[in-house]
C-alpha cells in the first residue's frame, strides 16, 4: 500500500495476521474463497479430496489479514481464518 505520508499512529497500527484452516472433505471446489480473497492467499490445489473436488490451499500464508471473507462466502463451512496469536507454530500442521 502506497501512502502519501506516514500516518501519525503508524507505530501503533498493526495489521492483523490470520491463519487459514480448511476442512478438506467438506469442500466442493466452488473457488469462491480463492477468487474473493482480497490478499490472494489461496490457490486451488491440484490435489483431490475424497469426493473428487479440488480444494483450496494456502500459498501466501503471510498475507492473510484474518478478514474472514473466505469463511463468510464459503457455502460449505469448509474454511475459516482466525488470529495468528491463537496458534503457536508448534500446533500448526504442515501442508499435507
Amino acid at each position: 500500500m502506497k501512502l502519501w505520508r506516514t500516518p501519525l499512529d503508524a507505530d501503533k497500527v498493526r495489521v492483523p495476521h490470520g491463519v487459514v484452516s480448511i476442512i478438506i472433505e467438506r469442500c466442493k471446489g466452488c473457488s469462491f474463497c480463492v477468487e474473493y480473497c482480497p490478499r490472494d492467499v489461496l490457490i486451488i490445489s491440484k490435489k483431490f479430496n475424497k469426493k473428487g473436488y479440488h480444494y483450496p490451499e494456502v500459498i501466501s500464508a503471510g498475507l492473510c489479514v484474518d478478514c474472514n471473507l473466505c469463511e463468510d462466502i464459503c457455502p460449505e463451512f469448509a474454511i475459516y481464518s482466525d488470529p495468528e496469536e491463537q496458534h503457536s507454530t508448534a500446533q500448526t500442521k504442515e501442508n499435507a
Partner: protein, 287 residues
C-alpha cells in the same frame, strides 16, 4: 503494506475437522446436499453469524422450512427446526409464533416454496404483520425437482418447463411484500455477505414481519440452461450488475433476465404486530 507492520513468518494452513460455525450446524450431516457453487450454503453461513450477532438465545430460535433446495436449511441448523410440506412453512411458523411468543421464529425457504405454492400464506402473513423473519433464497428456478420454471423466473430465461424461454411475467417480490404491508424488506445477493448478514440481523430483531430476499446462484440448473457459466460467473455478474439503492421504490426493483439487480434495504417501518393488536383488543388494552 504499512511500515508499522511486522509480519511473522508464513505458517501455512491448518487442516482441521471442525468449523467455528459448527455449534449452530448439525455438523454430523455435513457436507450438505447443495451443489458446488450453490448460494444457499453462503446464505446459511450469513444467517449463523446474524443469529449470533442478534443476541437472540439460540434455544429460543425456531427455524421452519418448506420443500425444495432451500427447504433443507432447517435440517442443517442446530436449532429447533421443522421441515414442513411444500409451501406451508409460514402457516406452521405462524402457529409456533402465536402459541409461544417468546420464540423467535424464522422461515428459511426458497422462492418456489414461499412465493408460488405458498404465495397465499406469504401475503397473508405479511398483511397481518405476523412476527416472523422470512428469508427467501431466490435462485429463479425450482432446483430440487430439476430446474423448472418458477414464479420468479425472469422473462425469456430457459428452464426445463420453459424450454423456449419463459413467457410469463415474474413476481417482483419486494414490491409484493411492500404492498402487503411487511415491516422490513431487504434484498441482497450472496456476494454481499456483510450486508446480507446485517440485513438478517436487523430482520431477526425486527418486531413484525421481516422479509429478506437473497439472490443466489444455481449453477447446476439455472445457469447451465441459460449458458451463464459457473456459479462463480454468476457471482461476477452480481458484482458487476448489482446496484445498491437503499429505500428504492420497490416498484422499480423487478428483475429481468441478466439485467441490473437492485439491492438494499427497501422498507423498515414500525407498526403493531398481529399478536400485539389481538392481545390489545382481547385484554381490553386497545392499540
Amino acid at each position: 503494506m504499512s511500515t508499522a507492520v511486522t509480519n511473522t513468518a508464513p505458517t501455512g494452513e491448518r487442516q482441521v475437522q471442525h468449523h467455528p460455525k459448527d455449534t449452530l450446524l448439525r455438523d454430523d450431516r455435513l457436507p450438505h446436499i447443495w451443489c458446488p457453487t450453490c448460494g444457499i450454503g453462503t446464505a446459511v453461513s450469513c444467517f449463523v453469524e446474524a443469529l449470533r450477532e442478534s443476541g437472540i438465545p439460540e434455544e429460543k430460535c425456531v427455524v421452519v422450512s418448506g420443500i425444495g433446495c432451500t427447504g433443507r436449511v432447517a435440517g442443517y441448523l442446530n436449532l429447533d427446526s421443522f421441515h414442513t410440506t411444500h409451501g406451508r412453512a409460514i402457516p406452521f411458523a405462524t402457529g409456533v409464533a402465536l402459541a409461544n411468543p417468546d420464540l423467535h421464529v424464522v422461515v428459511f425457504s426458497g422462492d418456489g416454496d414461499l412465493v408460488a405454492i405458498g404465495g397465499n400464506h406469504l401475503i397473508n402473513a405479511a398483511r397481518r404483520n405476523m412476527n416472523l423473519t422470512v428469508i427467501c433464497v431466490n435462485n429463479f428456478i425450482y432446483g430440487m425437482t430439476g430446474g423448472q420454471c418458477a414464479s420468479t423466473t425472469p422473462e425469456t430465461a430457459r428452464t426445463s418447463t420453459s424450454p423456449r424461454g419463459n413467457t410469463e411475467y415474474p413476481f417482483n417480490v419486494p414490491y409484493l411484500m411492500e404492498a402487503c404491508g411487511a415491516s422490513y424488506i431487504a434484498r441482497w445477493t450472496v456476494l454481499h455477505i456483510r450486508r446480507l448478514k446485517k440485513a438478517m440481523t436487523e430482520a431477526l430483531n425486527k418486531n413484525g414481519f421481516a422479509f429478506v430476499e437473497v439472490i443466489a446462484p444455481c449453477s447446476t440448473l439455472y445457469s447451465r440452461r441459460n449458458k451463464l457459466g459457473t456459479g462463480y460467473d454468476l457471482m461476477k455478474f452480481y458484482h458487476d450488475n448489482a446496484e445498491i439503492r437503499h429505500g428504492a421504490n420497490t416498484k422499480d426493483v423487478g428483475i429481468g433476465f441478466q439485467t441490473k439487480i437492485i439491492v438494499g434495504k427497501f422498507v423498515d417501518i414500525t407498526k403493531p404486530t398481529f399478536l400485539e393488536k389481538y392481545q390489545g383488543k382481547t385484554t381490553g388494552g386497545g392499540k
